[in-house]
């Protein structure tokens, strides 16, 4: 059948088709499937499917993402941004694991397995006890620690974007004295095919 829209292009989407692709979950719980999983179940799945990259305790192997820990580090010189320290919503954990993990085998976890892994990630972040069960009923009652850690984009309030920034633009004799180098990329020497390294080695 035709779309019935103004240009009559496309065809109606069937309910089964929408259900197959529409797996997103919102912070208010919209989109959560029925189901449940425990910390203990999640530990088994995590150790088998997740730990080789993310570490046995969510600490991350090599440069793979750290999932647990880091609470209270967001004002440190080197913040550790994890589910427990940084993420605002548990819905994002469920949604992302379900849609895109394990890396290289996405969409392979069932709804219940995803509940279980999510419960275990809460446990690794010291947010629930080891006998906890996560399910579609208690899910939306769980706030992550950094729930209130975000604000809207207010970059336009910064001075360089203020209305008078252009009026203050200096063209001549803007600074005293000659320019002095305060930092040099070549000192770090981490650039591939480093074009200047012939002077260092």
């Amino acid at each position: 059948p035709p779309s019935g829209g103004p240009m009559n292009i496309g065809r109606p989407a069937l309910e089964d088709e929408i259900a197959a692709w529409d797996i997103d979950v919102r912070p208010d719980g919209k989109g959560l499937p029925e189901g449940s999983g425990t910390v203990a179940e999640g530990e088994g799945i995590y150790d088998e499917r997740c730990a080789s990259c993310h570490g046995a305790f969510g600490e991350g192997e090599g440069r793979w993402p750290v999932l647990a820990g880091g609470q209270g580090t967001l004002t440190d010189e080197r913040p550790e941004k994890t589910i427990g320290s940084y993420w605002p919503y548990l819905s994002t954990v469920y949604d992302y694991v379900h849609r895109a993990m394990p890396f290289g085998d996405a969409r392979s976890l069932t709804d219940d397995e995803t509940y279980a892994v999510t419960a275990y990630l809460l446990y690794l972040n010291d947010l629930v006890k080891d006998d906890f069960e996560l399910n579609s009923k208690n899910f939306s009652g769980i706030d992550l620690p950094n729930h209130d850690g975000f604000k809207p984009d207010d970059r336009q309030s910064e001075p360089q974007n203020a209305e008078n920034a252009q009026a203050e633009l200096c063209m001549k004799d803007c600074k005293e004295g000659p320019a002095e180098i305060t930092m040099r990329a070549r000192v770090l020497d981490v650039t591939p095919d480093n074009a200047d390294s012939d002077e260092q080695d």
């Binding site: 989407a13 913040p79 941004k81 992302y96 360089q160 040099r184 990329a185």
Partner: protein
């Protein structure tokens, strides 16, 4: 870092040879590249060259052409230590070697989160559902029946220059600024797709999703969707490259590249944003006080001198020269670009040559080089009056851990021998 010099590709080797040749010239005068001072007749002129005598390839040799073999070093490059795995990683456009404003399709930087999806367009479907009157499915053939537009836009990764927040780190504008490309898109205004489905009154947000293994998702406010977003299936006149989302991608003019969903397969209308991983864990900007900005969509006004730059040193002696670069703003057109050769003490207005709203502009600063060291900077101002800030101004506002949205002024130190380096200056 520990690799041998020989393993490092041909640009540096060619440069080394050049520099050594230059250093043998008296007083460091780098006149070798100029034929003007030749005392002897140039054999490239006086002797008959092979290409002047023998036939070249016929028209059947190269059905789909490639760059000259002498341009083989002009390629996308990656920085292996930046990411855990090449399938969720980034590479960089060789800005230092390009001119004009259009990025050649094969040199457009790549950013994938689950590698390059390989999709036969006959198998691709686009679905729209949620708060619409008529949930619909389109094939690629369907999409090509909608009215389409051609627009030139820049796509800049939110993390472009992100490695430079703490100071000068990577030596070359390919690496410091190369997560950007600028191409002509052919596509359908996204509003046509929404109108075909019939948007309900309470629909305020659109979720766009890719068909790849990362199933990239982002929430976009409906005002932006109805304004200038496109569903594009061509770039620079031909089909999208696989690494740019073949067969179809989202175009979100002026906004961070992460939102330009590739391999686009699903559009859902809703009344609230979805707070997906790519708009909570990633693409949020942590400030010094521990609070993070979210929904930092627009890419602010920015510019960089692309030549000379660390990968493109000055190779002639003092005299007439050209500094050129790119400027862009997610807020619209570029109004003006200023160039400084003394680290921001004095500025001259550069010449703009080409450019589009929410696309890159090319600028040129033509000047006489007196042979002294240069501290080259560029400063862009957009039509909304936003001024490109210094990196120190940004750090004063945001700290050093924002990762994204570093549009600070870049400084290149050009030495008397032409060698150029990424620095920060007082």
């Amino acid at each position: 870092m520990v690799e041998s010099a020989k393993a490092r590709g041909r640009i540096p080797n060619a440069r080394r040879q050049f520099l050594k040749a230059g250093l043998t010239a008296a007083g460091g005068t780098l006149a070798v590249a100029s034929g003007v001072k030749a005392a002897q007749p140039d054999p490239k002129i006086t002797e008959i060259q092979d290409w002047n005598r023998y036939l070249g390839d016929g028209v059947d040799a190269s059905p789909y052409g490639s760059p000259s073999q002498f341009e083989a070093d002009i390629v996308r490059r990656n920085v292996p230590w930046l990411t855990a795995d090449a399938t969720s990683s980034v590479n960089f456009t060789p800005l230092y070697a390009l001119d004009g404003t259009i990025t050649p399709s094969g040199l457009c930087f790549e950013r994938h989160h689950g590698g390059v999806a390989v999709i036969n367009p006959a198998d691709h479907r686009l679905m729209i559902h949620g708060l619409v009157d008529r949930p619909l499915v389109f094939t690629m053939d369907d999409l090509k029946r909608f009215p389409r537009e051609n627009r030139v836009y820049f796509l800049e990764c939110a993390a472009n220059s992100g490695m430079e927040w703490r100071g000068a780190q990577l030596n070359g504008c390919q690496f410091t600024h190369g997560m950007i490309h600028n191409v002509e898109y052919t596509g359908i205004p996204l509003r046509f797709i929404l109108e075909e489905a019939g948007v309900k009154a309470d629909a305020k947000w659109l979720l766009a999703e890719g068909a790849d293994a990362a199933a990239m998702t982002r929430s976009i406010p409906i005002e932006k969707v109805m304004d200038d977003c496109l569903i594009a299936f061509k770039m620079n006149g031909e089909a999208l490259r696989p690494e740019q989302g073949y067969p179809v991608r989202l175009v979100v003019p002026g906004w961070e590249g992460n939102m330009w969903i590739k391999w686009l397969r699903r559009l859902e209308l809703g009344d609230k944003p979805w707070a997906q991983r790519e708009e909570t864990s990633k693409y949020t900007d942590l400030l010094a006080n521990g609070v993070a900005r979210r929904h930092t969509w627009v890419m602010d006004v920015k510019s960089v001198v692309t030549n000379p730059s660390p990968q493109a040193p000055l190779t002639h002696s003092k005299g007439r020269t050209v500094a050129t670069g790119l400027a862009w703003s997610g807020h619209g057109r570029i109004a003006k670009v200023d160039v400084s050769i003394d680290g921001g003490r004095n500025w001259s207005e550069a010449r703009l040559e080409g450019g589009t709203s929410k696309g890159v502009y090319r600028f040129y600063h033509d000047f006489d080089w007196d042979g002294a060291e240069l501290f080259l900077q560029s400063r862009a101002i957009d039509e909304a009056g936003n001024v490109q800030p210094t990196k120190d101004q940004l750090r004063a506002e945001r700290g050093e851990n924002s990762i994204y949205h570093n549009n600070g002024i870049q400084t290149w130190h050009v030495r008397q021998d032409g060698v150029t380096e990424n620095v920060e200056v007082s």
